[in-house]
């Protein structure tokens, strides 16, 4: 506020003007106050402007620095973008909303075979005469309309001299107001990739055909092997029951052992090819662990005893007994490892230890260890032990017999069941082969006694059985085994004969080989079931088969068989199968 004006107002207020001027004095004072108020405002504006000037000039200086930085960054970005466009091995183009080219990169111009400036402002048909891919142009229009990018559009372009495959992405370009002002397209030449894909496809088909052929071959060869094997084992068994000299008994034992070894080999090869073909399926069922271990103990104790080795199975009390898992495969792994232990141990003992690693809820991990006092494994050989066809060479001359498949099958089986396998060994002291497997605990029958073993067939005396088998040797084996069980046997050589016989007598049991002349086992079974339809009659039928691949079982059962026995079979297996259908 102006002190001069204020003091003037004060002075004026104190003046005592003549009467005529008193009104005028009031007006002058009012006007002076207004002037003072305006003066205050002007002074404020002046001071304010000075204050603002400093701050605003600082703000503007800093802002211009900021803008310079932004501008520098934009220049760098533009430089980077232009380098990228020039060097990227892709065809890049910008088009306006009428689909005229606005910018193209060097690669694009090279593809078109003309300079960039001759492309700008033109449409694709003018650059590539004969280009009529309406689908692609339609997609560009859709991008402009929808504002949404499109990816991986593949098309084959017919250029003047060659055909090229292109993969393109198209995206809209927007201005600051978010309006679409054009689009950017990036195309990659994928001709080479397409060629490779084609070659790969062909290779894959070839490989698949090869694998298929291999599996077919293994299936058929296993069948071919199993038939004579059945003969050898069956005849040996018959022979064993006849009067033999000690020397003949020894020889026969040799034959049996060789045949059994061959059977193991055959089973290994079959298992391995099934695993390799991804056809190995696990069969998870409830089972009793102690029962499995008893079976193993029976077999292995005998084998160990032959070499005067002690064999023990020691199960930790905390190990659950009623489990869900594939007991057959568990048995196979333990037998394989214990067989190896027996093979490589000359004196001392073999212990199988079973412990629980952990348990949570109804899941438990169990550890199985096969500990021997055998020759041990050299440290350098342990890594390769579980590889296919790997066998440990003990010295230069001696190679332990075997296929080299056993351990690799064990490894694959434990892998398939979600477990791990390993070995620790000290040469000269012995080895410990171990594996862990997860099991589900079955809550069924937990408090019930163990399920009874299949009843020992005390005899099928006077029971009548019809057997259809074309192989004469197998006829003799089956016939021998059935008679031993007490059956009265009717034997025929083909399916048709079997079907005719079926009409002449009432059989307690019918055993049908699958592969037979005139009518095969399936056809006979189907024909019998057809006749039985609508009656209460149901003949018990067992199939004999050399096809031991998993998955066959369903086939037999669907054909109307009640059970099947895979060749070669032992007396016990056949007896068990018969008991299950007429026992």
């Amino acid at each position: 506020m102006s002190l001069k004006i204020l003091s003037f107002i004060e002075e004026l207020s104190n003046m005592q003007p003549p009467e005529d001027f008193s009104g005028l004095k009031g007006s002058i004072i009012d006007e002076l106050r207004k002037i003072n108020s305006e003066y205050d405002k002007l002074q404020f504006k002046y001071e304010r402007s000075n204050k603002d000037k400093n701050i605003l000039s600082s703000l503007l200086t800093r802002t211009s620095v900021d803008l310079m930085k932004v501008s520098d960054n934009l220049k760098i970005r533009a430089e980077e973008l232009s380098t990228l466009l020039a060097t990227i091995p892709a065809y890049v183009y910008f088009k306006d909303t009428s689909l005229n080219y606005m910018i193209v990169n060097r690669s694009f111009a090279e593809l078109a075979g003309v300079a960039s400036d001759q492309i700008i402002g033109k449409k694709i048909q003018e650059i590539f005469p004969g280009y009529f891919n309406h689908e692609y142009i339609k997609k560009e229009m859709e991008v402009l309309e929808s504002g949404l990018a499109k990816y991986n559009i593949e098309e084959e372009m017919d250029l003047q001299d060659k055909k090229r495959w292109l993969n393109s992405n198209i995206a809209p370009i927007r201005n600051a107001e978010n309006q679409i002002i054009g689009l950017i397209g990036i195309s990659w030449d994928i001709t080479e990739r397409k060629l490779h894909e084609e070659q790969l496809r062909e290779s894959k088909e070839l490989a698949e055909a090869g694998t298929h052929a291999k599996n077919e071959f293994i299936a058929s060869i296993s069948h071919e092997f199993r038939t004579p094997m059945a003969g050898i084992l069956g005849l040996s068994e018959i022979l064993k029951n006849s009067a033999l000299t000690p020397e003949q008994t020894d020889l026969l034992k040799g034959i049996t052992t060789s045949a059994e070894n061959l059977l193991v080999l055959l089973n290994d090869v079959l298992d391995f090819s099934a695993i390799e073909a991804g056809k190995m399926e696990m069969d998870y069922q409830p089972f009793l662990l102690d029962r499995v271990m008893e079976d193993i103990s029976l077999v292995m104790k005998m084998k160990a005893a032959e070499k005067s080795i002690i064999f023990n199975i020691l199960t930790d009390p905390g190990v659950p007994n009623l489990l869900i898992g594939d007991s057959q495969r568990l048995r196979q792994i333990i037998i394989n490892l214990t067989n190896n232990a027996v093979k490589f141990t000359e004196k001392g003992k073999i212990d199988v230890l079973i412990t629980r690693v952990d348990q949570s809820g109804n899941k438990a991990n169990l550890k199985f260890e096969v500990v021997d006092t055998g020759i041990g494994i050299p440290p350098g050989s342990m890594d390769s032990l579980f590889r296919v066809f790997s066998r440990v060479r003990q010295d230069k001359s001696k190679l332990i017999s075997g296929t080299g498949l056993g351990l690799s099958i064990c490894k694959k089986l434990t892998d398939l069941m979600g477990g791990t396998i390993g070995v620790e060994s000290m040469p000269g002291k012995g080895s410990t082969f171990w594996f862990t497997l997860p099991f589900t605990l079955s809550n069924l029958q937990k408090n019930k006694p163990d399920p009874p073993l299949p009843e020992e067939t005390t005899g099928f005396t006077k029971k009548l059985v019809l057997v259809a088998e074309d192989n004469v040797i197998n006829q003799r084996i089956v016939s021998f085994q059935l008679k031993k069980m007490g059956f009265e046997v009717d034997m025929v050589g083909d399916g048709q004969e079997a079907f005719e016989k079926y009409h002449t007598r009432v059989y307690d049991l019918i055993i049908l080989d699958i592969q037979m002349p005139l009518m095969d086992g399936y056809q006979v079974a189907k024909a019998i079931r057809e006749e039985e339809k609508g009656t209460i009659r149901h003949s018990a039928i067992i199939a004999l088969t050399a096809n031991a691949m998993k998955g066959d079982r369903e086939l037999y059962l669907n054909a109307g068989m009640d059970e099947y026995v895979s060749k070669p079979f032992t007396y016990e297996i056949l007896q068990k199968a018969i008991s299950s259908v007429i026992g």
Binding site: K41, F44, R48, I55, L59, R62, D66
Partner: protein, 380 residues
């Protein structure tokens, strides 16, 4: 609606003015008081307590009153509106904000307003320098709905930035809110909120903030950024910061201004009058000069054309406007007085709350936010 008003600069003057106004038998039941912290607010509350009136008051950063006797803009004074309203058509309640977020405080206000009237409109004053005005508004809207009519401001303390108050006829609260709810069946309540501030400089990013506390801008301590861009000293803040608020760019919504109301020099952080979201794109802003007075006058005239009838006007004007416009601020208040010629009282705030004519409510800084109260003609 009968309204009387007075201005004073002391508690003694307040008592005297009260006695003068009520001498002729005038018996107000609702009193609005905006007072400087220079006056003993507790004494004012104690004076009003036995007088059986509902009080809606707060501390200020400058006050103004325009009526047939006064056209004053003061600092260190008090303005008072004494109203005789129809009982049952309004309610006033004081809320404590202690130990709760501004959002939760808003929730309580919103719930109360919904309980007292089916369709309420709210006048609200907030105190506490850390009170987040935006969260207070969001809290009320969360319960009462986005379309609720609401006007008000954050209390001031003559730019000391130490302690601000709201008060009722019973109690003074340095961290809370006081709300006056009107039954919209009986009142027409409309208003405007206009700023005129403009963005300056390049975009910046809020790189670390929590609610209304900003730690870093473009990765630098927030206080350092303010000091270096405005070329000011630590001690110039927050006063200068109030005049150069951050303008927050909101995608698809109007930009909002957020003024600095407090500074932590040691931690180099700034406290704003409302939320500044993490990652927000902001610029500095400034009043573009004295032409914003013209801008505001135009807005006031537009509002007058839409809403010619009023009983009383309450104005919440940002203290930054007062700083920026100095004595010329009277020109924008004059415009309102000239148009309606009805009592107009208000104060310079630390933040304003309001709906732009019939739009949803928001929290602002740097605005001229005015509300018009009119008793509906069919209610007598």
């Amino acid at each position: 609606m009968v309204v009387k008003s007075f201005h004073t600069d002391s508690v003694k003057g307040f008592r005297q003015a009260w006695a003068d106004q009520t001498a002729g038998g005038f018996n107000p039941n609702a009193v609005v008081v905006f007072s400087s912290v220079e006056l003993d607010l507790q004494e004012i509350v104690s004076f009003l307590q036995p007088r059986n009136v509902s009080v809606f008051g707060c501390s200020s950063c400058g006050e103004f009153l325009y009526d047939e006797h006064n056209q004053v803009i003061t600092e260190g004074g008090l303005v008072c509106l004494m109203m005789a309203l129809i009982p049952g058509t309004f309610e006033i309640r004081l809320f404590s904000g202690k130990d709760q977020s501004s959002f939760d405080l808003g929730n309580k206000v919103g719930k109360w307003a919904g309980d007292v009237f089916e369709k309420p409109a709210i006048l609200i004053l907030g105190s506490g320098l850390d009170t987040d005005g935006e969260q207070l508004v969001r809290g009320i809207q969360h319960v009462a709905g986005n379309d609720i009519t609401m006007f008000g401001g954050l209390a001031g303390d003559d730019a000391r930035f130490k302690e601000t108050f709201v008060f009722s006829g019973d109690k003074l609260e340095n961290n809370g809110a006081i709300a006056m709810a009107f039954d919209t069946k009986n009142y027409e309540i409309h208003g405007i909120a206009t700023s005129g501030w403009v963005s300056i400089g390049a975009d910046k990013i809020i790189t670390h903030s929590e609610g209304n506390v900003v730690y870093t801008i473009d990765g630098q301590p927030a206080l350092d950024v303010y000091k270096s861009y405005l070329n000011v000293r630590d001690t110039d803040l927050p006063e200068i910061g109030v005049e150069y608020p951050l303008l927050i760019k909101k995608a698809g919504a109007p930009d909002v201004l957020r003024a600095v109301i407090n500074v932590d020099i040691e931690k180099k952080l700034l406290i704003f009058a409302g939320t500044v979201p993490n990652g927000a794109v902001v610029t500095f802003s400034s009043s573009p000069g004295f032409e914003i007075i013209e801008y505001t006058r135009n807005k006031v005239n537009e509002f007058y054309e839409m809403n010619r009838e009023t009983d009383v006007l309450i104005l919440f004007s940002c203290m930054a406007r007062h700083n920026a416009l100095g004595p010329t601020i009277s020109e924008e208040i004059d415009e309102a007085w000239k148009n309606w010629g009805k009592p107009l009282a208000g104060f310079f705030t630390y933040g304003e709350i309001g709906n732009n004519y019939n739009a949803s409510c928001d929290f602002y800084n740097e605005t001229f936010t005015m509300v018009s109260l009119k008793q509906k003609p069919d209610v007598t």
